[in-house]
């Protein structure tokens, strides 16, 4: 199960994800994220504080969104990642290609005004 809510913070869209990002939820999440990008909201922060699990399907969602955001001049940045999820992101090298922050505020602040 997964829930997604998107909030606008000035120039940054904060995507709050709760639950599991996996093969059962990946399509819905990527659709929501790409819809934000298509509407010109290309500066994304994914709040991972309530993400309990990420599978390889979840990793592919992040990769697809990241590529699309950067092609549009924006970015996808992660905030507040739980240790078990961070382990998967580290194993897969995603912490090397994505900018990760300890909390939502610092992730939002990382984008220039």
């Amino acid at each position: 199960m997964m829930e997604v809510s998107i909030q606008q913070h000035n120039h940054v869209a904060v995507v709050v994800i709760a639950g599991s990002i996996d093969a059962l939820t990946a399509d819905a999440l990527v659709t929501a994220l790409l819809a934000e990008l298509q509407q010109g909201r290309t500066r994304l922060v994914a709040d991972f504080s309530a993400v309990e699990y990420t599978s390889s399907a979840g990793l592919r969602v992040l990769l697809t969104t990241l590529k699309d955001a950067r092609q549009r001049g924006g970015d996808l940045r992660l905030a507040h990642i739980r240790p078990n999820v961070r382990q998967v992101l580290e194993l897969s090298g995603f912490t090397s290609i994505l900018k990760c922050f300890p909390d939502r505020d610092s992730a939002i602040a990382s984008y220039p005004a």
């Binding site: 199960m1 997964m2 829930e3 997604v4 809510s5 998107i6 599991s20 996996d22 093969a23 059962l24 939820t25 990946a26 399509d27 819905a28 999440l29 929501a32 699990y53 599978s55 390889s56 399907a57 990793l59 592919r60 990769l63 078990n84 382990q87 998967v88 580290e90 194993l91 897969s92 090298g93 995603f94």
Partner: protein
Amino acid sequence: MTLSVTAERSLGDVLQRRSRIGLVIGSGGIKCTMAIGLLKVLAREGIPVDVAVGCSGGAIYAAMFALGDEVAAIETRSLEVWRDLFTKLHYRSLLRAVAPALFGYHEQVGLVDDRRVWQVLEAHFGTRDFGECRIPLHVAATDFRSGEKVTLTEGRIIDAIRASIAIPLLLRAWPVNDRLLVDGGASNPLPIDIAIREGCDIILAMGFESQMTDDVRSFTNAVGRTSTIVTNHLLRATFAFYSAAHHAEVLPIMPLLDRDIGLTEWEQIPYLIEQGERAAEEQVPYLRRLLAQTLGDASPPRA
């Protein structure tokens, strides 16, 4: 905007049929005994596995599983198998390594006396071959001469495993089908690619990172640390590539240890099994949800 998803089907046609499940057990020396913990969880949860893939020490457990051995028997045997397995030196190899001009160098050099290794493998696998497995078994090795990845799927299981566990410099390379083979971990420490090639939709990938030693006090330590760095990065790169590049769902089971455990520390096996079981249990809730969504599994399987 708020979106709630309970069981959106994202695997496309995969969920229109019973998923094909692959079990991949990577290289990791004695740490591969953590696979016993995983096998316990698979048995307890009644998770069906269609293909078994193993590399190096992981090949031992993939083979036992593919042959249908009971987990309790595998555990009991493992507590004996690893005892004194790597403690005797192969003196001829040692002399060849330090004074090749005098004793002549040979490409099958290995510093550990491998007679006990062979005895242990022979006691368990004997003359059993791949054809006797209840599910397909694939063993990863490396061609010592060309460096190519090799997958063994036929012949005597003992030869495939002996080749796959030939840790460079420690155990002599092993000839199979006119090729001289060494440890699969040298080229493919977590052979997810084989499971993908065999059409697996869901891949349980158990890999083992090595812990960094606290300090380097000898040349051997330095070589060991270098090997650990290279192997860990190769493991991560392998996992990353196959997770991102293919539609198969790869579930990583990579237990985190709080200590470095060497090849001769067989007294740590109960701890390793426990850690393997704990890491496998973390994947069970999602695995059961995933299986429950397939048309062939209206309800999650139970043993």
